[in-house]
Amino acid sequence: MSARGRTALPYLYLLPAFLFFVPFVLVPFVHTVGLSFYDWDGLTAAAFTGFDNYREAFDSALVRSAFGHALGLVFFFGVLPVLLALPLAVSSARARIPGGNALRTLIFLPQAIPVVVVGVSWGWILALDGPLNAGLRALGLEWAAVDWLGSFTWALPSLGLVGTWTLLGLCVTLFFAGLQQIPGSLYDAAAVDGAGRWREFFAVTLPGLKGPITVALSVTVIAALRAFDLVFVTTRGGPGTETVVPGILIYRRAFEDGRLGSAAAIAVILSIVVFAVTFLINRISERNA
């Protein structure tokens, strides 16, 4: 083989991947950024409008509330599952429960189910005449039975808790795997030092789980910011605009209202938020090394 052929070889192997990646991800992403500076209905000529789409987005109460709702979902999709999964993984790892693996697999199961299936299923469970309210009535809590997804107060937290249900198992699995990597000698040393259970947790377990916690938060927080499927098949943003999230706004403006430039601007803002949050989570975790 000639020297020239040898140097070209790696690029030949990369070519197929880039033949897909460049036209279907990279170029459209650059176009989204470009499009965000135009006013375009998708059919007639586009007009350059500078930062107007961004100005409109920042001034719009609807856009601001959409990002606010996404932030609320971050709590339910990310923070809550991590807080629940930590004691769950730690206690089940040290107790060596018979059948523990099978139980953890069950808790992980919702992660494998298509989000659309999760959405229509919970739509039934949370309906006014659904099983959740039937259970509440059976317990004599008639007053607590509401139309969960149709309520201005409860729609967003309800969707959030569906997210908690979906993502808890992922966090438990990640933490449980992480716990197996912590050397037992660290626990022995802590025991020799006379550390109690809490000190042991903060001195050995928590630092040892830094990697898995970082991964769990990155994955779940991105899932919260990008929530679309679940909202689309359950509330479509309602009641009113109580559960409108950025993904729903992008879809509506681009494919229902014919405001492609505005949709692109929101998409760019969403991307920046996702990049920033991913960077921040990983940065904080490195700093605490």
């Binding site: 990279l26 769950l88 139980l103 808790i107 659309v116 099983p131 990697g211």
Partner: protein
């Protein structure tokens, strides 16, 4: 030892209650799917008998045979495409040294953090101009593209941990790079490839936004898309909806159950990407 014993009991109780909370809604939907047609129930009630005919009805009358077929075509094509391009690129990144290696790798890795919402608008406009919307290609090609980011990352990690002596010995024997890949590396890569196949299949099967935007023809609809339309159109047929939901989830749930150990490991390593 009574202290340790209560700890185990309490931990087990906590774990079991979370498992029950997780499984209860799934159990409820499966139970609902076996009720008599048009049953309007509000609780978890046992049906008089198991009405499997709901599945036949959803399969034939509600077009789920066609939706499932579309999903299968799309998912299999995406898996085949992603595995091929990711194996080739992962091989280059994992075993070869070349100029621009880092830049190209991180460029491809950006696909892991770019939200799909941020490419969907121009993607639709461009595929419409190329008359590709309303064809399986409009879903398959972008999914291969976005999944090849993870696929490359995943296969590169595999190829990197192959002992260098193995590669050097094969090179000394005069084997070309493609031959080394095929004869020396791929036979040992089967566990890594299987994980990639399972993950990409699930991601493709579950994808919603892309087919929602690209496919308006009913005969092309994928299973999640068909379910979303079905549940919004037949709001009173909850039994039918439940049967359809179970059918849409079943292929990926079975796949998950059959491979979950490997899958969970894949999630773990794969999640480290971001």
């Amino acid at each position: 030892m009574t202290v340790a014993h209560t700890t185990v009991t309490r931990s087990a109780a906590i774990l079991i209650s979370f498992a029950v909370i997780t499984v209860l809604p799934i159990f409820g939907i499966v139970l609902l799917s076996l009720q008599p047609e048009q049953a309007q129930l509000s609780g978890f009630e046992l049906p008089d008998r198991l009405h499997f005919e709901n599945y036949a009805r959803a399969f034939a009358v509600a077009h789920f045979a066609s939706y499932l077929q579309s999903s299968l075509i799309v998912s299999v094509a995406v898996v085949v495409g992603t595995v091929i391009v990711s194996t080739l690129s992962g091989y280059a990144f994992g075993t070869m040294r070349f100029a621009g290696e880092k830049v190209l790798f991180y460029l491809l890795l950006a696909g892991l953090v770019i939200p799909f919402e941020a490419v969907i608008v121009p993607l639709y406009v461009e595929l419409r101009a190329g008359r590709l919307t309303n064809s399986y290609w409009s879903v398959i090609l972008p999914l291969i593209a976005i999944n090849s980011s993870f696929g490359t990352f995943w296969m590169r990690a595999y190829f990197r941990q192959v002992p260098r002596q193995l590669l050097e010995a094969a090179t000394l024997d005069g084997a070309g790079s493609l031959r080394i890949l095929w004869k020396v590396l791929l036979p040992g890569a089967r566990p890594a490839l299987l994980t990639l196949v399972v993950l990409v299949f699930m991601w493709s099967w579950n994808e919603f936004l892309l087919p929602l935007v690209m496919l308006s023809r009913e005969d092309l609809r994928t299973a999640p898309l068909g379910l979303a339309f079905f549940s919004s159109r037949y709001t009173t047929d909850r039994v039918g909806m439940a049967a359809a939901a179970v059918m849409v989830a079943l292929p990926v749930v079975v796949l998950f159950m059959a491979t979950h150990r490997r899958f969970v490991h894949g999630m773990w390593v794969g999640a480290l990407k971001s």
